[in-house]
Structures are given as C-alpha cells and as structure tokens.
C-alpha cells in the first residue's frame, strides 16, 4: 500500500529530496556571496519541478488504479502544493534582484523535502 512499493517512485522521491537539498545549499552559498538568482538556480528549479510533475502523474495514476492513500484529501493537497512552491518562489526570486532572491530559492528548495516527507506519511499512515 505504501508509496514505497514500486522502487521507481521511492527513487524519484529520494532524487527530488537530494536535488532540492543540493539546490538549497547552492542558493545559500550564492546568498552568502551576495549574488542574485542566475541561470544555475533556474535550471535547478526547472529540473526539480519536472520531477515533481512526474511524481504527481505517478500519484494520480496509482490512485486511479485503486490505491488509496491513508489520508486522501491531505495527500491530494500536498500533490497540488508540491507543484506551486517552486514556481511561486522562482517568480519572487526573479523580481528580487539581490542576494535575497537567492535566499528565496533556498527557502523554496527546503520546503520540498518537507512536503515529500509529509506525502510519505499521509500515504502510508
């Protein structure tokens, strides 16, 4: 019943977590170096967003196939939220043309692993 069952999903979730943490670390570094958001941040955000979209598709396919998360409504809420965090963060970060834009990317990236952990909890109980 768990989200872990097929290894591909577990690998995807772990990959998203690691990627998010790497991007967060990079963004904190560029914040410390007083650099605004650049192409590297946007590419990182794009790749993670893509992986999150794949995860949503996998989640929806599983639910359509009859699997049910323990807390369905909450799980769907997290699926939707997982897609919103990075684009909103990216928009704010692009507007803010200073080191604080980098800090916003770091913040948004750190939210993703939390969302992943919560998704696993509400799926498996």
């Amino acid at each position: 019943m768990a989200f872990y069952d097929p290894p591909v999903t577990d690998g995807l979730a772990n990959g998203i977590t690691i990627g998010s943490l790497v991007l967060a670390a990079w963004s904190l570094l560029t914040t410390a170096l007083n650099r605004p958001v650049g192409r590297s941040h946007l590419v990182g955000l794009g790749l993670i967003e893509l992986a999150l979209a794949v995860q949503v598709v996998v989640g929806v396919v599983k639910m359509a196939g009859g699997e049910r998360p323990e807390e369905m409504a909450t799980f769907i809420g997290y699926l939707i939220a997982s897609l919103l965090v990075l684009p909103v963060g990216a928009a704010l970060a692009i507007i803010e043309r200073s080191r604080w834009g980098s800090a916003i990317v770091a913040l948004a990236s750190l939210v993703i692993p939390v969302v992943i952990v919560r998704m696993r909890q509400v799926w498996g109980g």
Partner: protein, 145 residues
C-alpha cells in the same frame, strides 16, 4: 506583489518593507499562510467536533498569516500597519497558546500551529513574528547607507 517601490508614508520616513530581506519574509509568510489555511480548512471541514477550540484557533492563526502576507507584500502605510498588528497578535498568540499547552494540555486536545511554541513547525511560528517586527522596526527609520 510589491515591486520594491517606495510608497506614500515611506517617502518621508523609512524604507519599503516589501523589498530585499522583506521579500524573503513575504515568502516565509506565504508558506505559512498556505499550510495553515489548508490544515485549518481540513480540520474544520472534517472533525470540528473533536477539538473545536484547537481548530478554531488554527483558523485564526491561518487568517493572521494570510493578512500578514498581504500587509508585507502590499507595503506602504496601510500594509505596514496591517503587518505590525498581525505580527504582534502572532507573537502574543504563540506565547499564550504555547504556555497554556504546556501548563494545561487538556485545553487543546489536538495540536495547533502555536502549541508548545510552534515546536511541530520547528519553532518557526515563534521566531517569525519576532523577525517580522524587527524588520518592520528597521525599515521604519531612514536608511543609513
């Protein structure tokens, strides 16, 4: 969202609250506004009877986070005032509810954002209003540069 322009009151006596570090603050508040609203909405819709006081408090916290986000993003004299009020209410709320939840846990059978000083959220609910009030205070004076 604010674009960092200096608006009305700030022309005379301070800096914009919605630019620089302020924009990071808006992002943190937006995350809390979203998660607190979703959580409170879900709790009230599905199990209000279990712990009405806790869930209504969650809803109040959610409203305050939303208002604080709007105030900080809007900026200007009105935005600043909204943000000051919200941050103050938040600080009083987290200190009060945090203390009550330790001294009399039975008052809140289920956790709220502010229980145990926001421990369930990494104590961010405790630190956030302090950061907010500090930022609002800093920007209320003319820039030193």
């Amino acid at each position: 969202m604010g674009d960092g322009r200096v608006s009305d009151g700030e022309v005379a006596n301070g800096r914009a609250i919605n630019a620089g570090p302020g924009r990071l603050l808006i992002a943190v508040y937006a995350i809390f506004a979203l998660s607190a609203s979703a959580r409170a909405g879900f709790q009230i819709a599905t199990k209000l009877g279990d712990a009405p006081l806790a869930y209504l408090l969650s809803a109040l916290a959610a409203v305050i986070y939303v208002l604080a986000t709007v105030g900080l993003a809007r900026g200007g004299r009105v935005g600043r005032r909204i943000a000051v009020v919200c941050c103050t209410v938040e600080l009083v709320g987290v200190l009060t509810v945090g203390t009550v939840s330790i001294l009399a846990p039975s008052v809140f059978p289920d956790d709220t954002v502010w229980s145990y000083y926001g421990r369930g959220y990494g104590f961010v609910p405790l630190v956030l209003p302090m950061l907010g009030l500090f930022w609002l205070w800093r920007t209320s004076r003319p820039a030193r540069e």
